[in-house]
Symmetry: C2
Subunit: 132 residues, 2 copies
DNA sequence: CTCTACCCTAACGTTAGGGTAGAGTTGTTG
DNA sequence: CAACAACTCTACCCTAACGTTAGGGTAGAG
């Protein structure tokens, strides 16, 4: 399928999808004779994974690194034990960072709720404090 | 107090505090003869407000605009009724946007938790899937 | 003085895309 | 087959919110 449909399904912009390709995150599986990007379901799934990762605040480079690690762990080609261990350690590092980021998001959310509440309270106060 | 202590207390970086000044968000109440920025408790409080606003994803321009509105509502100088109403409407708009943003944050948080869980589950699986 | 810990400005770098221009491609009509 | 709408391409410039040097000045203790 072409980029437009992918964009619709992933809710990512065309620009974003192309940008992900530029930085090596997700390349279309093929191109049409005319040069149009052609994506498979697998490509779309990968974009979905990235979309789920986005709120974790990883940079695109980190995401590429992580995806690369899991791809190689999932590949059919067997790995040497130490290679495998190194990849797992990389994934573990990201998992720890992800957990930390989840905590940060909780803090952010509560700050945001707090601020929104303050703002609303203030408006209610102002509503019947007619000092004009 | 000087910028370093302000940074420590607000958990904002020196660069960030200076940047806020550059864009007209919070200016230090004074400067030392040598040119050091000198902040009062009030300045720090304002920075704290901004820090609470940050997770809401407002731009610095919007924050300046909102702070400006609340400042003028809180000022001692009385306002014409229509001016006051205009300011309140501005604040209301931001409050609505804040509420929307809180919703977004909730979605992000749940996506992040989801992803972190996936990653952890995967690591547990890998841990005893010794195919090396 | 002089030393150390701070602080200053100026200016370019980075990240994750947004937007636009100008040109080519696809698939559908008449 | 030509014409056409809808879509896509590359290339390039733009933005926000800081980070990061570089090169220097300041506060105050000893």
């Amino acid at each position: 399928m072409q980029i437009g449909e992918v964009a619709a399904r992933t809710e990512l912009s065309l620009r974003t999808i192309r940008h992900y390709e530029e930085t090596g995150l997700v390349a279309p599986s093929a191109r049409s004779r005319g040069g149009f990007r052609l994506y498979t379901e697998t490509d779309v799934a990968r974009l979905m994974v990235i979309r789920r990762m986005k709120p974790l605040g990883f940079t695109l480079d980190q995401m590429r690194d992580l995806l690369d690690a899991t791809d190689r762990l999932d590949a059919d080609t067997p790995l040497r034990a130490d290679e495998r261990e190194a990849l797992l350690e990389r994934v573990r590092t990201y998992q720890r960072e992800a957990a930390a980021q989840v905590e940060k998001l909780r803090v952010q959310l509560s700050r945001a709720e707090d601020f929104e509440g303050t703002l609303r309270a203030r408006l209610e106060r102002d509503a019947h404090t007619d000092r004009a």
